[in-house]
Structure formats: structure tokens, C-alpha cells
């Protein structure tokens, strides 16, 4: 029953963009119908998913698929349900947002196309989450990947969009091919394409290869450092509601895959968990470090996805370590942290992208240093963005704090009562996570401050307007979710508990309520809100009469908006500190003479892996390939010589 609901949701999502194709190019019926269908699908699928948390997981569905090795097998366990919920809620809210952000009336040529692919994207992701057969999984995976590519390149007349589209496409294909290899290896161990247990003891080398391929394939999708190369560009260039889904949901399919493979590995060696933890830590720190250097609002948010996926991986690493050493509390806390952070990141990142989209829609630029002072012109957006910003920094009393707390607890629990020295890794992971949190705060202080606070730095900012309701409503919903999860995490414990049980298999289960101070977190959050409320009330009474004046200018007579601290200057200290990984580029003039002419200074932080490493490396490979063109130089004598050579070689092969 639950499975059928989800399947129905997937089908509705897949078809949501189809009616629009035959309806008028100018009318609004198509787009409303698309959102409506997606909403209906989301309602059905979410119902199915939520019902799963309570009850016993069903036996699943299956239908024959007359292709070798393939089966339309569907299974809805709590792990899948967690992701189903995220896929559908995220996609629906983004679709709603799109009604105002990308209305058909303003985009007559690509609006219908975009909605078609958007629906397919949601359907593909839904399929990935519930597939219980490798071929079916890959089907959903690729539909998702291609639909995402086509949505991302909606505005393909722009060169930079095409470029990031290509990078994304290549990256996702490399991921898909690693999954080909992974599933075929799994088949060579288990003998089937079903998601059965992989015996790591009997097949240590093969199982390690499976693990490595899973990290590669799913890590590419999840955007873990250094496999994140496609991510910043793609998120920055896609239409914003697509960026929101890509960042909020699509990346999580990589997480889902790794979680699923983690569940399949029977008795994994400790190093695997350590690798995931280490990758997560590197990703988290470098992700946020790169984010600080950005001055494109969406690119900045994109790097924060790298960071947050890193945090998720850290949780997953803890869970894997717990599985290896037989510590159910590590499994419970690590996995609950990872999964809850998956939700949370989906929520606040979508919220932030929506906020960024409102800004872009209102001002026409995503360059942070051209903005400023939008808090006055867009009060709702600014409050909602601030909620998202606070949440993503992991600050209480919002949701980001809760999931990070779980990860902290998981890491902390591993400090005590263990043998061996691997706890040093978890020990250093804790301050790493703290560093990430602090850097994230710095980064969002910069972003929020430069965009919404102070005064406008350009004409773009001067004519901003508040977003329309289809854009505001999804943000309100997401902000509310941030608060609810942050204040009352206990509400979500059953879902997480169910997933932990489904994941750990034979490890004895300890419920999350016993492992983490859920109710006391609520108390702390309530206390904080109460004290803030009291303080605000008190201050409000004292501030009935205030005098206003200009900002203190240290006696300088004519301050201008351009003298404000820009986001780049704000970040400069930190980018300099991290310059050993960021390699920032600066274009600084040399000033000569007593009265130098007007000049300019610019700095940017390109992606170290993509722009500094991969592109040059691939260029070199490409040059070598181009050099090999002499093979086909048009000379028929040469061609005939190849044939002779082939014969001689083969005759010598085995005389």
C-alpha cells in the first residue's frame, strides 16, 4: 500500500510537465497544472513514506522487466522513506517557487521544457530511493542525472551555462560508470542485482573495491571534496529553483547511495568508516573555506553544500566505524546525525537558495558586492534568509544544531572505552567540526551582511522589491521546519530510529532518545527563545523613543555606500589564512607616482580542484591525444602499414 502510494507519486511527478506541452505557450494553465500534479504526487508519496515510519516495512513490490538482470523491484524501508519525503517535499516546494520565479509568461521558450525535465528529475530521484534492483536503480539514477542536466542548461544560449553543463554531465557520467562497476562487482560477490549483503570477510579485496567505487560514484553525486568539481558552477548557473533542488535533494541521492551500500556491507573494516569520516572532514573544512572566498551568492551557497555533505559524511563515517567495532551507540548517533543533517541541509539550503533567488529576481544580479541594504526593501525575504543562515551555521535553537549535535555526540562517544588508536581520528574530527561551524558563521555573516544589511552598493540593489507569494510561501514552510526540528527534535526520532534499525541489521539497537538529550535540547531551545523574548520585550519598552542619525563615521564628512566593508574585504583575513589551499587570484595594480590615476583591484577564489588541477590535467591529456592525430594523418600508406603490423603482431602472438 505504502509502496503504491510512492509509486503513484513518482508517476504523477514524471507526468507533471507533460500537459503543459500541449497547452498554450502563453497561458498559466500548464505551469499551475504541473505544480498541482507534483503537489498531488508529493502528497501521496509523503503519506506513503510517513506511514512507513510507524508500521512494519512491507515486503515491497516487484514486476518483471524482460531485460537481462533487471526487475522492477520496489522496497520502501525507513531509510528509503526518509529520502522519499525529502525528494517530494523539496521538489514540490521548488516547483511552487518556480511559478513566480520562472513563470511561463516570462520564459515562453524554455518554461515548458524546464517543467517537463523538472518533473522527470523528481521522478528519477524518487525511483532511486525506492529501487531494490541495480538495473532499476541505475534507470532512476540516469533519468535523474540527465533530467538534472537538461534543467540545469535551461538557458543554454549562455556560454557559461553550457560550460558548467558539460562539466556536470561528464562528472555524472563518470559517477554512473563507477556505479556500473560497483553493481557488477556486487553481483560477482552476491550473485544478484538485488541489494543483498556483501560479505566483506570472504571477499576482502572485492568488497574494498565495491566500497571504493561507491565512494567514487556516489561521492561524485554528493559533491564530496575533491569530487565536487561540477557542483559550484552547476548550482550557480542553474535557474534558482533548480539549484535549490540540486543542492537540497539531488546531492542527497549520493548520500542515499552510500548509506545503502553501507547497509549492505557486512562487517566492514574500520578503515572504510575512517575514510568516509576523513573525506567528510576534509570536505567540510575546504567546502566552507572556499565558500568564504566567493563573491557570487549562489556559488557561495554551492560551496556550503560541499561543506554540509562533508558533515553528513562525517556522521556516516561514525556509523560505519560503529558497525565495524560493534558499537550500536555510534551507529545510532552517527547515522541519525547523517540522516537528520541530510534533511536539515535540504531544508535550510533550499531556503537559502530560495532567498537568493528572490534577491536575484528582485535585483538581477547575484554578485554579492553589488548588493546591500536589501533588508529594508525585502523584509520578509531577509528574515527568512537569516533563519536559513542561522540554521546552516549549526546554531541553536534551529535544526542544524540538532543534527550536528548528534554527530558531535557520536564522535564524542567514540573517545571513551575503545581499544586501538583510531579514536585519534574522531578526536580530531570534533575540533574540525567546530572549526567548520565557526567558519560557516563567518561566511554567512558576510553573505547576509553584505546582501541584506548596510546600504545598497549599486543600482541593482536600489530597485529591489519583495518577492511574490509563491516564492514566499515555500520559504515560510522551510523556515518553520527549521524551527520545529530545532525545538522539538523528539518528533522526528521515530523516523530516525526506524532507519537506524533498517541500516544496522544485526547491531543491537538503542533508541535515539536514550542516546541523545532530545528533550533537554528542547528545554535549552525554549529557554533561549524565552530569554531572547524577554530581552527583546525589555529593550522594546526602553526603545520607545529613539533619535536617529547617520552611522558613526569617525569624523569623515562624506561617507558613501561604496566605502562599506565589502564581502570580499570581510573575507580577506580568512582567505589569506587559507591561501595555502584556496590559491586566491588577485589582480592588483602597482601604484606609482604621487598622483596615481584611478585603478582597480579584483580578487577571486577559483575552484582549486577544477580550475587549478583538473582542467590543466585534462588539457594536457587532450594535448597528448591531439598529438596522436598523426596516426590518422590521411596517408593511405600508413594505413596499410597498420594492417601489416596487425598481422605480424598476431602471427607472433602465439606462433
Amino acid at each position: 500500500m505504502n509502496e503504491w502510494l510512492v509509486v503513484a507519486g513518482i508517476i504523477l511527478a514524471a507526468l507533471s510537465g507533460v500537459p503543459g506541452l500541449v497547452l498554450s505557450r502563453r497561458g498559466t494553465a500548464g505551469e499551475r497544472l504541473a505544480t498541482g500534479l507534483l503537489g498531488l504526487g508529493a502528497a501521496l508519496a509523503s503519506t506513503g513514506a510517513i506511514r512507513t515510519f510507524g508500521g512494519v516495512p512491507g515486503p515491497g513490490l516487484s514486476a518483471p522487466w524482460p531485460v537481462p538482470g533487471a526487475l522492477f523491484a520496489v522496497r520502501l524501508d525507513p531509510i528509503a522513506a526518509i529520502f522519499v519525503l525529502q525528494v517530494f517535499v523539496g521538489s514540490f516546494l521548488a516547483s511552487l517557487y518556480g511559478l513566480a520565479y520562472w513563470p511561463q509568461a516570462e520564459h515562453p521558450f524554455n518554461g515548458r521544457k524546464l517543467r517537463l525535465f523538472f518533473g522527470l528529475l523528481a521522478a528519477g530521484m524518487g525511483t532511486v530511493t525506492i529501487a531494490a534492483n541495480a538495473m532499476f536503480f541505475l534507470l532512476g539514477w540516469e533519468v535523474m542525472a540527465i533530467a538534472a542536466f537538461l534543467s540545469l542548461t535551461t538557458v543554454d544560449e549562455r556560454r557559461e551555462v553550457r560550460e558548467v553543463g558539460y562539466v556536470y554531465l561528464v562528472a555524472t557520467h563518470v559517477g554512473t560508470l563507477s556505479l556500473f562497476a560497483m553493481f557488477t562487482l556486487i553481483e560477482s560477490i552476491t550473485g544478484s542485482f538485488a541489494f543483498g549483503g556483501v560479505d566483506t570477510v570472504a571477499h576482502p579485496v572485492l568488497a574494498s573495491a565495491v566500497f571504493a567505487l561507491a565512494v567514487l560514484g556516489f561521492g561524485l553525486k554528493a559533491g564530496i571534496m575533491p569530487l565536487h568539481v561540477w557542483l559550484p558552477g552547476a548550482h550557480a548557473r542553474a535557474p534558482t529553483h533548480v539549484s535549490a533542488v540540486m543542492s537540497g535533494v539531488l546531492l542527497k541521492m549520493g548520500v542515499y547511495g552510500l548509506v545503502r551500500v553501507g547497509a549492505m556491507l557486512v562487517e566492514p573494516p574500520v578503515w572504510q568508516g575512517a575514510v568516509v569520516l576523513g573525506l567528510g572532514a576534509v570536505s567540510a573544512v575546504l567546502g566552507v573555506a572556499f565558500a568564504i572566498g566567493q563573491h557570487d551568492l549562489k556559488r557561495l551557497l554551492a560551496y556550503h553544500s560541499v561543506e554540509n555533505v562533508g558533515i553528513i559524511f562525517m556522521g556516516l563515517g561514525v556509523a560505519l566505524i560503529g558497525k565495524s567495532v560493534g558499537r550500536p551507540e555510534l551507529v545510532g548517533l552517527g547515522l541519525a546525525g547523517a540522516l537528520l543533517h541530510t534533511w536539515n541541509h535540504g531544508i535550510f539550503k533550499a531556503l537559502l537558495f530560495f532567498g537568493a533567488g528572490s534577491v536575484i529576481h528582485a535585483t538581477g544580479t547575484q554578485e554579492i558586492d553589488h548588493l546591500g541594504g536589501l533588508g529594508r526593501r525585502m523584509p520578509l525575504t531577509s528574515v527568512l534568509f537569516l533563519v536559513g543562515a542561522t540554521a546552516i551555521c549549526g546554531l541553536p535553537p534551529l535544526n542544524g544544531f540538532v543534527s550536528e549535535l548528534f554527530v558531535y555526540l557520536g564522535l564524542g562517544r567514540s573517545l571513551a572505552g575503545v581499544n586501538g588508536t583510531w579514536w585519534v581520528l574522531t578526536a580530531f574530527a570534533i575540533p574540525t567540526l567546530a572549526l567548520v561551524g565557526a567558519l560557516a558563521s563567518a561566511c554567512f555573516a558576510k553573505a547576509f551582511g553584505a546582501v541584506f544589511l548596510g546600504t545598497g552598493r549599486s543600482e541593482h540593489a536600489a530597485h529591489a522589491h519583495e518577492a511574490r507569494w509563491p516564492m514566499i510561501v515555500p520559504m515560510v514552510v522551510l523556515a518553520a521546519l527549521c524551527v520545529v526540528i530545532g525545538v522539538a527534535p523528539a518528533l522526528f526520532a521515530p523516523a530516525l530510529d526506524g532507519a537506524v534499525v533498517a541500516w544496522s541489521g544485526r547491531a543491537a539497537h538503542v533508541s535515539l532518545a536514550e542516546l541523545a538529550p532530545l528533550s533537554l535540547v528542547s528545554v535549552g531551545a525554549a529557554l533561549l527563545l524565552g530569554v531572547i523574548g524577554l530581552g527583546a520585550l525589555g529593550l522594546r519598552r526602553r526603545l520607545r523613543r529613539v533619535a536617529t542619525t547617520g552611522t558613526w563615521d569617525c569624523g569623515y564628512a562624506a561617507p558613501t555606500a561604496r566605502m562599506q566593508y565589502t564581502s570580499s574585504s570581510f573575507a580577506q583575513n580568512l582567505t589569506r589564512l587559507f591561501s595555502f589551499v584556496l590559491w586566491p587570484r588577485t589582480h592588483a595594480p602597482t601604484v606609482r607616482g604621487s598622483f596615481p590615476a584611478s585603478t582597480s583591484f579584483a580578487s577571486e577564489v577559483p575552484d582549486a580542484v577544477l580550475d587549478r588541477l583538473m582542467v590543466p590535467a585534462l588539457r594536457t591529456v587532450e594535448r597528448m591525444m591531439v598529438w596522436l592525430r598523426w596516426i590518422q594523418a590521411g596517408n593511405v600508406h600508413l594505413y596499410l602499414t597498420y594492417i601489416v603490423a596487425a598481422i605480424v603482431l598476431l602471427l607472433l602472438w602465439r606462433p
Partner: protein, 477 residues
């Protein structure tokens, strides 16, 4: 019956040469294709089809490939009238006759049961296709035809030498066998091993040249690049499949002789090498028709690689033969349309195909996804099957190299295809009157539909054909 399958298209070809009307002559092609398809459909229902004293017969391998070629031919023949109507400046008598004769000689290959006859049929194929490549009659097409003929003839000569070697091994020194394939397979264990090895090498290189395996592939980019898209489909899907069939006959003999490992090793090596060479040349490939030629080299490599794995790999190769041929139909025909719409086959001068010719542009993109092994299209299933054969056979290194080659191919092909399809048409591109019309898109659309279908559903009848063919080649009852 068997003879009818060969002679009917030849008769149509003769008729085509006689019809005086430049305008109506091309309509014979779809009629010929449909007639042949009907005959094949009838023949496939028959339990046994033989003719000319056993020289012609349909065995399991022949059934699959004949059926496939007939479908491929019929679907692409729909394109011919629309295409030739656009090329009224060219005399099409030779072209029309040639293209129908090709169907006859391709059928002959699939039906040949004799060592010598299959060679004659392959030679006839080479000759029948040469005028098709020459269709444009300009300096570039002459050069392409010259290379095609010279390299193809050398290949065919080698195949003949190999045929003699095999016959010598079978008749003069070893078993006393007739040169019918069924007898050769039975007598294979007694064939003199040195002669068999040398014969296999010569035949492999000879027919490999016709198939376009690297390093004997050099004629392909030139021929595919200069020939009309329609001819590209027939070469990439039909003619090379015929060469593959001929090669499989000898693989079968080798296997029966207990020398299967020798043959398979060679096939895996050449399969991987072909993929690698194709990958190298697809990087930065500005000419999108030549790119398709290299893609063909790559996929012929995949075919022999699949057979080289044996077991499930042979089935995968059979399936891939079908999938690759059909997908090439999409790609060559949509590329042909784009070529016509932009008057250029260089990606420097072509962009925004999806804006100027939306259907062809979309089909080109979809065909690209299909050919690179993306689900839910057919080639995904077959490529994954071949990969599974490698992994389950514990050929991990081969599997890894296979995947690496696919990645590199994707890098190169993706850049070119996206450059062609996306963006806006360049300002410098000449305005052309070419638009997507039913006659020019019906055929690639039909190909695309089949490719998609085969990814989601393999009909039981096709499945039986594939399984029988695979079992037949691997000599398992």
C-alpha cells in the same frame, strides 16, 4: 525462399536502374525495404530456410542478423525519398540501384553457409557500397572512396588468403572436410592447428578491416564523414554487422577446434584497443560525422570484446549489435539533417541545432545519451551485460579498462555533441531552407523509439533469437 531473400532486392536494384524518373525512383527504396522485411518476417517463421543446394541457409546467427538488417534497412529506407528529394541536383540512378543492391548482398552474407561464398558476398558488399560513398562526387568523396576501396580490398584479399589457409588446413593436411560451415565446425578438432591459427589471424584482420576494428579502421572516418547519413547507417549498422557475422563464423570454428581461448584473447585485445583508439580520436573532434565514425569503431570494439568474454558476453554482444545499429540510425540520420540545416559538419560552424531543427537536434542529443550507455536506452543493457560478463569472469582489469575507455569517449563525444546541439545558431551560419519535416524525421524517430523500447523491454521473440544466436556462436546446445 533463401534465394528470394537475396534476389528480390537485386531485382529492385535492376528496376531502379531502369526507372527513368529521377523523382519517383527513390520511392522504390522503401518499397524494396518493406518487401524484404515482409519476406524476412515470413522466413523467420519457417523452421528451416535453405536454398541452392545448401549454399544458402538460415541458421540461428543468420536469423538474428538478417532480421536485424532487414529492420534497420526498412527504417532507414523511409528516409531515402525525403533525402533524395533534397538532393535533386544529383543524378540518383546509381545511388538508388546501389543502395538496393546492398540489401541483397547483405542478405547473401547472412545466408551464406560456405567458406567461399561468404567471402564472395563480402566482396560484393564492398563493391556495392563504393558508389554510395562516392555519391557527392567531389574531391573529398573521391578520396574517401579511394581509401575505402583500397583498404577494403586489401582486407578482403587477406580474408581470401585466410580462407585459403583454412581450406588448406581443413582439406589438404588435416580433416577431410567440405567447406560448408556446419561441416567445418564438426571437423574442426582435426584441422591442422598451425594453419588454423594463421587462417584465423588473416581472417580476423581481413574481416576486422571490413568491420573497422582499430588499427584497420582508418577508412571509416573518411567514408562515414563524406557519405550521406543514410549510407552511414547502412555501413555502421548493416555492412559492419555482416563482417562481424563472417568473423563469428570463424570464431565458432576456432572454438569448436578447442582454440577458443586463442581467438577470445585476440578479440579482447583488439576490442580494447579499438575502444582506446576511438576514444583518442573523439577528443576534440570537430567534425561530428567523423565523430560518429569513431563511435562506430568504439562499438565494434565492444562487440568483439563481448564475444571475447564468452558466456553472457556473447549474448551481450548480440544484443549490442542490435542496439548499436539502431542507435547509429538515430545518430547518422539526425546528424545528416543537422548537416543539411547548417551546411557544415564542423562543430565550429554548427551550434544551436535544437533551435534550428528541434526534432533532429533533440534526437541527436538523445542518441548521444543512448550510445554512451545511459539508461533507459538499449545500449545501456547490452553494455552492462558485457561488463557483467567481464566481472563475473573475474576479468577485472578488462572491465576497468572498458569503463575507462567509455569515460574518455564520453568526454570527447559529449563536448562535440553539446557544442552542436546547444546554444544559438552562429551568426555566420548560412540560412538554409531546411526544416524538420515528417519525411526527414520519421525514420530517426522510429529508430529512437526502438532504442528506447529495447532498454525497457526485450520482446520474447527477439530474446529467443538472441539467445539462440549466442548459444550457436559459443557452441553450447
Amino acid at each position: 525462399m533463401a534465394l528470394a531473400l537475396v534476389l528480390t532486392p537485386l531485382a529492385f536494384a535492376a528496376l531502379g536502374a531502369l526507372v527513368p524518373s529521377q523523382r519517383w525512383r527513390p520511392w522504390l527504396v522503401p518499397v524494396c525495404g518493406a518487401t524484404h522485411l515482409a519476406l524476412v518476417a515470413f522466413a523467420l517463421r519457417e523452421p528451416t530456410v535453405t536454398g541452392v543446394g545448401g549454399y544458402l541457409a538460415l541458421d540461428h546467427l543468420g536469423r538474428l542478423i538478417l532480421g536485424f538488417i532487414s529492420v534497420l534497412y526498412f527504417l532507414s529506407s523511409i528516409y531515402a525519398p525525403g533525402y533524395l528529394a533534397l538532393r535533386t541536383e544529383r543524378e540518383n540512378r546509381v545511388f538508388t540501384a546501389g543502395i538496393m543492391a546492398v540489401l541483397g548482398v547483405m542478405s547473401l552474407v547472412t545466408l551464406s553457409q560456405h567458406l567461399g561464398l561468404i567471402w564472395v558476398a563480402m566482396e560484393a558488399n564492398t563493391l556495392a557500397t563504393a558508389p554510395l560513398i562516392y555519391f557527392n562526387k567531389n574531391a573529398r568523396s573521391i578520396e574517401a572512396t579511394w581509401k575505402y576501396l583500397l583498404i577494403g580490398s586489401v582486407g578482403i584479399a587477406l580474408a581470401l588468403l585466410g580462407t585459403f589457409f583454412l581450406a588448406y588446413g581443413a582439406v589438404a593436411t588435416g580433416a577431410d572436410s567440405s567447406l560448408f560451415f556446419s561441416d567445418l565446425v564438426k571437423a574442426a578438432p582435426h584441422i591442422s592447428k598451425p594453419w588454423l591459427h594463421a587462417a584465423f589471424v588473416l581472417l580476423f584482420v581481413g574481416y576486422g578491416t571490413k568491420m573497422g576494428l582499430a588499427p584497420m579502421h582508418t577508412w571509416k572516418p573518411d567514408a562515414y564523414g563524406e557519405a550521406p547519413g543514410l549510407v552511414g547507417v547502412l555501413l555502421a549498422g548493416g555492412l559492419t554487422s555482416c563482417a562481424f557475422l563472417a568473423m563469428l563464423r570463424f570464431v565458432q570454428i576456432c572454438t569448436a577446434a578447442g582454440e577458443g581461448a586463442f581467438a577470445r584473447e585476440i578479440m579482447v585485445a583488439f576490442g580494447l584497443f579499438s575502444m582506446a583508439v576511438a576514444a583518442v580520436f573523439m577528443a576534440r573532434q570537430r567534425d561530428y560525422k567523423r565523430m560518429l565514425a569513431y563511435s562506430s569503431v568504439e562499438h565494434k570494439g565492444i562487440l568483439v570484446l563481448g564475444v571475447g568474454h564468452g558466456g553472457a558476453g556473447v549474448f551481450g554482444a548480440m544484443l549490442h549489435l542490435v542496439n548499436n545499429g539502431l542507435t547509429k540510425g538515430v545518430l547518422f540520420l539526425s546528424a545528416g539533417n543537422i548537416h543539411r540545416a547548417f551546411q557544415s559538419k564542423l562543430s565550429d560552424n554548427v551550434s544551436g541545432a535544437i533551435r534550428r531543427v528541434p526534432v533532429s537536434g533533440a534526437l541527436f542529443l538523445a542518441g548521444f545519451f543512448a550510445i554512451t550507455g545511459s539508461p533507459p536506452f538499449g545500449p545501456f543493457v547490452s553494455e552492462l551485460t558485457i561488463l557483467r560478463a567481464a566481472m563475473n569472469g573475474q576479468q577485472y582489469l578488462v572491465g576497468a579498462l572498458f569503463l575507462v575507455a567509455l569515460v574518455v569517449v564520453f568526454f570527447g563525444m559529449g563536448a562535440t555533441v553539446l557544442a552542436v546541439v546547444q546554444g544559438e545558431p552562429p551568426k555566420s551560419a548560412p540560412e538554409t531552407s531546411f526544416k524538420d519535416r515528417l519525411v526527414t524525421v520519421a525514420s530517426p524517430l522510429a529508430f529512437m523509439a526502438l532504442v528506447l523500447l529495447l532498454g525497457l523491454y526485450i520482446p520474447p521473440s527477439l530474446s529467443t533469437l538472441l539467445h539462440n544466436a549466442a548459444a550457436f556462436v559459443s557452441i553450447t546446445p
